[in-house]
Amino acid sequence: MASNFNSSIGKSSKIKEEIKITDSSLALIVLHEKKKMILKMLLEKAMTIQDLKKATNLNPGTIKRHLDDLVKNKLVFVAKVKYSDYNIRMKYYRATAKNFIINIKI
């Protein structure tokens, strides 16, 4: 039953090789200590909030708020939604690029 519900939201083609950040407000978001830690992990693979909790030791509520910020600024997206064998919905997040380069001219 669970396998019937497996679905994908984002596609791997959504992941770019590189994103140049030229906006200073966006750079501030990326440079935020906890957001940077989360983003770094999502460069490698798609992870759920529970996976991120185990990896970072952060509170899931805190992770969710940082993820929402990252999603709002198009730095992270929901890559897929899976269902456990008990039909528990699991959202997997992934960074929108493999590299983020900050390039700001003052």
Partner: protein, 295 residues
């Protein structure tokens, strides 16, 4: 074939408990905070109301305490308004808030984030407070009707030291428990359904659809739940009171009652919400809004 079916049934029940326990361990803070807030609100409203009595009684010398509480008050309107606010409003907040745990269970299992936060309880309270209250009253009616069936001897209730049960009374006690159990199983699926569907009418229709198609699973899972959270503490308390009368004192009864309620509140209620939501998400029946929820 039959043994294979019962094996499958027990596997599903085991899954209900195992997954719910796992999720409870990971999210106990949100559940316990919700319960704590519900009981605190209830107690606060009662304290405020009783303080108000004192104030009104002090300011209006013509009023007597009988106007507030007695069966045939001199001033019916004051008594009615006072009773309505103290009992009804306090119970609405208590029951509605306790049932916001169904919303937390829904967040954990269906939102995709696999966790719940205490503040979500307020969102579910705003959204479904009266529906949760109505459904709680409906489910608790089974308990009251069960007690009416048992028709506990009034004289025995007064003094715990004199409680004696013969085989006939024990039989009625079991029947009243069974009645509450059947009533509970009949209506419990309305709670996860109202959280997912948002309509009282739809929740009743879905409840009976689940019951019709999955009666065996419901009876097995909730049977074990009752055995753990109701029958065992109740039996232990009764055996202590009846067979160890020398130990029986009002303090012991209060202690056992406190232990029973704490066990039910701290572990029982969150497990109830998680198991009910888990069953709702896992059984097959015709739903009004499709599962999984759309993005």
């Amino acid at each position: 074939m039959r043994s294979r079916n019962s094996f499958k049934l027990f596997t599903e029940t085991k899954k209900d408990f195992k997954n719910s326990w796992q999720l409870f361990k990971e999210n106990y803070k949100a559940f316990i905070s919700t319960e704590f807030f519900a009981f605190l609100s209830f107690i606060s409203i009662e304290i405020i109301m009783f303080s108000l009595i004192g104030l009104i009684y002090y300011l209006v010398p013509s009023l007597s305490l009988e106007d507030f509480w007695f069966i045939f008050p001199q001033n019916f309107n004051i008594s009615f308004i006072f009773r309505f606010i103290t009992i009804f409003v306090a119970l609405i907040i208590l029951f509605a808030f306790l049932n916001c745990q169904n919303g937390l269970a829904y967040d954990i299992m269906s939102s995709g984030e696999m966790f719940a936060e205490f503040k979500s309880s307020f969102t579910y309270f705003r959204r479904y407070w009266w529906q949760y209250f109505v459904l709680t009253i409906l489910i608790l009616m089974g308990w009251f009707l069960g007690m009416i069936i048992f028709d506990f001897d009034h004289n025995n209730m007064g003094s715990p030291q004199t409680i004696t049960l013969d085989a006939f009374q024990i039989g009625w006690l079991i029947i009243s428990f069974l009645f509450f159990f059947i009533w509970f199983v009949t209506f419990i699926n309305t709670l996860p359904s109202i959280t997912a569907q948002g309509s009282l009418k739809h929740s009743f229709i879905e409840n009976f659809r689940i019951l019709r198609k999955n009666a065996k699973r419901l009876l097995t899972t909730w049977g074990i739940f009752f055995l753990i959270f109701f029958i065992t503490p109740f039996t232990v308390s009764f055996i202590t009171i009846i067979f160890l009368p020398s130990l029986t004192s009002p303090f012991l009864i209060l202690f056992l009652l406190g232990l029973f309620i704490s066990f039910l509140a701290i572990i029982g209620f969150p497990m109830l919400s998680l198991i009910a939501t888990g069953i709702y998400n896992n059984v097959e029946f015709e739903r009004f809004k499709p599962f999984p929820p759309s993005e």
